[in-house]
Amino acid sequence: MKKVLKFFVQYYLKWLAKIVLWRHRPMIVAISGTTNKTFIKDLILKEVGNNMEVRGNPRSFNTEIGLPLAVLFLPSGYSSLFKWVDVLFEGTTISLFSRKFPKVLVLEMGVDCKGDMNYLLTIVKPTIAIITNVDRNFPNNGTSINDITDEMKNLVKSVREDGVVLLNGDDNRVRSLKEDSTANVITWGIGKECDAKISDIKNTETGQLFTLESEDRKEDIEIRKFGYHNISAIVAAKIATREIIKRKNKSVKQK
């Protein structure tokens, strides 16, 4: 019975999310990878939020039920049938009748097993995809690290030619996905071949200093955070923000 209910909720929410996205057509930024998704998402929300209406998903709302909930901006019903009835009713109202909707959605896409990404891609069609890294620390649910890489490949392939794919150049598996994209690809990292190059990293008492070279610009950046992943996150978020604003400006001009 529980399984049937879950199946019903999952598919009902999926269609509600698809309808609301079809009605409002926001730009979708999808972030996937084992770690660093939330840091990048939060930074993009902060940066882009100054220029346009944008929304992200709560950290754990990144799977088959969480993602449509995030698109519809709804809470989870958790284990309560009554709460789920409320959620589905509210979702139906939002999906069919909402007038206001964010211009940009920044969504974390959680991938645990084979097939997860393809399912999520039946709900959202990203214009910008960001892939952070492919790592495994629980290699025992029948899904290998190669399977997860294939899932990321599906995300890369799903981005149309006029979109952009951002790949972490420091991760060999992620970098290799460049070949699978028909869209423009931008890589970031410490490698010389990266499009956005990170160099001269220095630790300070309060954080880190580094240099970023991207699109013929060179800038020194100081952050009050520790760990290389925070540098990586800030660079990915900067590129993503630039691409979002570029596309939005372009669409305004076309109108």
């Binding site: 284990s79 620390n137 629980f138 025992n140 649910n141 954080g207 992943h229």
Partner: protein
């Protein structure tokens, strides 16, 4: 073993209490609540999806450590999850691994007096020497920096405290933390801060985490447990965060001790951080009601006890009145009920007496350090009916044996 380590008096009292019929225990610091449903459900899902059968990486699941970094950053505490956060099998493993990594045999660690009993055992396990620094009871058990300074010797390696403090419920002021850190800087000491009760703050008190003082990060070890905040004492999961130069030393010990924290508990901890914030708020509200209830009973017994209304945690730490001390000193306890080291302690005598005669289990104050003598600790994390029953028995008993003249 050169240095015999007794069982924690808290656990000793719990074990003694199991032998008493109709006992009401306010001894061990266990919240009465069950682990929130959302956490249990996620843990079950992790088991069913085959994610829990094997070890995680030694420092813990990447996802959990990332969520910890994210969560700490909200409180302006910045650590790198890849190198500076280690998930441990409860905070006591974090503490023991820290001291095993940092201490040489005979090194001294300054701890407040009174403070949590097992700190002494953890330091002794690492062949260190716990050195008590008396807190100032007249200032709601605040640190006395002069006392702290006077106890620093060439052998001192660390200052270790629980903030908010167990058993007193004291929150150390920001200025005091800063003074402790400056002192540590002057004498090249580590500062270990166990902040297990940071989510339960009452009376509009201000709590400032030691982890926020980033200028001193190279000597701070920050410890937090999921046990109390999320009602997960049985899951044995906590974490420590410190500069990578420190975690590099601790990770080897942690690996040797437990390989990794229980993986199912790590998934549960991730669910706690992501989904259980409302539960923490609810627990806090319930603890406030229970605190007010237990304090009301003590307000009605000024002839027997004085106490400070706790600003945090879920313990009251009342002090015996002179009248009660006189009475306890005249009492005789069965020889077999107390060990040699417990016989001259009023708090042990009183705790055993009320356990045997009225079936109420509390922890003798001396268990927390010499300054805890002539106090008892009662946990108000238990159900309200337990608190009512224990306090009614205690009130009636004291009024019977020590009638007001």
């Amino acid at each position: 073993m050169a240095n015999f380590i007794n069982m924690s008096p808290i656990k000793e009292m719990e074990i003694r209490s199991t032998k008493i019929i109709d006992v009401v225990s306010l001894a061990q610091g266990i919240p009465s609540f069950d682990t929130p449903e959302c956490i249990k459900k996620k843990a079950i899902e992790a088991i069913m999806e085959g994610k829990t059968a094997r070890y995680s990486l030694s420092p813990g699941l990447l996802e959990l450590r990332e969520a910890i970094e994210h969560n700490l950053a909200k409180s302006e505490i910045n650590y790198d999850f890849e190198k500076e956060i280690i998930v441990t099998a409860g905070s006591i493993e974090a503490i023991t691994a820290t001291f095993l990594a940092l201490l040489e045999p005979g090194d001294e660690v300054l701890i407040p007096d009174p403070t949590y009993t097992s700190y002494q055992s953890a330091i002794k396990t690492a062949r260190g020497v716990p050195v008590f620094v008396p807190l100032d009871e007249s200032r709601k058990w605040a640190f006395d920096i002069a006392q702290l300074k006077s106890r620093i010797t060439e052998k001192t390696k660390a200052i270790f405290f629980c903030n908010p403090n167990n058993p007193t419920g004291t929150i150390y002021e920001k200025e005091q933390i800063l003074q402790i850190l400056q002192l540590a800087e002057q004498h090249n000491l580590y500062v270990v801060s166990d902040e297990v009760y940071r989510d339960f703050i009452y009376n509009n008190a201000e709590f400032v985490s030691t982890g926020r003082f980033s200028d001193f990060r190279e000597r701070i070890i920050y410890i937090f447990s999921f046990s109390k905040a999320y009602a997960m004492t049985g899951w044995r999961v906590a974490f420590l965060a410190a500069d990578s130069k420190i975690t590099e030393r601790i990770i080897g010990v942690h690996d040797a001790m437990v390989t990794c924290a229980p993986v199912v508990s790590q998934w549960a901890a991730l669910a706690a951080l992501e989904m259980a914030n409302n539960n923490v708020v609810y627990f806090r509200e319930e603890f406030i009601k229970r605190k007010d209830k237990i304090c009301k009973y003590f307000d009605q017994m000024p002839e027997f006890f004085s106490y400070a209304n706790p600003d945090s945690a879920y313990f009251v730490f009342p002090k015996f009145s002179d009248k009660l001390i006189d009475w306890i000193e005249k009492q005789t306890i069965n020889e077999d009920d107390l060990r040699e080291d417990q016989k001259n302690s009023n708090s042990w005598k009183f705790a055993i007496k009320i356990l045997n005669e009225i079936g109420v289990a509390v922890v003798p104050g001396i268990a927390f350090g010499p300054s805890g003598e002539n106090h008892i600790r009662l946990c108000f994390g238990r159900e309200e009916e337990y608190i009512d029953e224990a306090m009614k028995r205690l009130t009636e008993y004291l009024k019977k044996v020590l009638p007001i003249t």
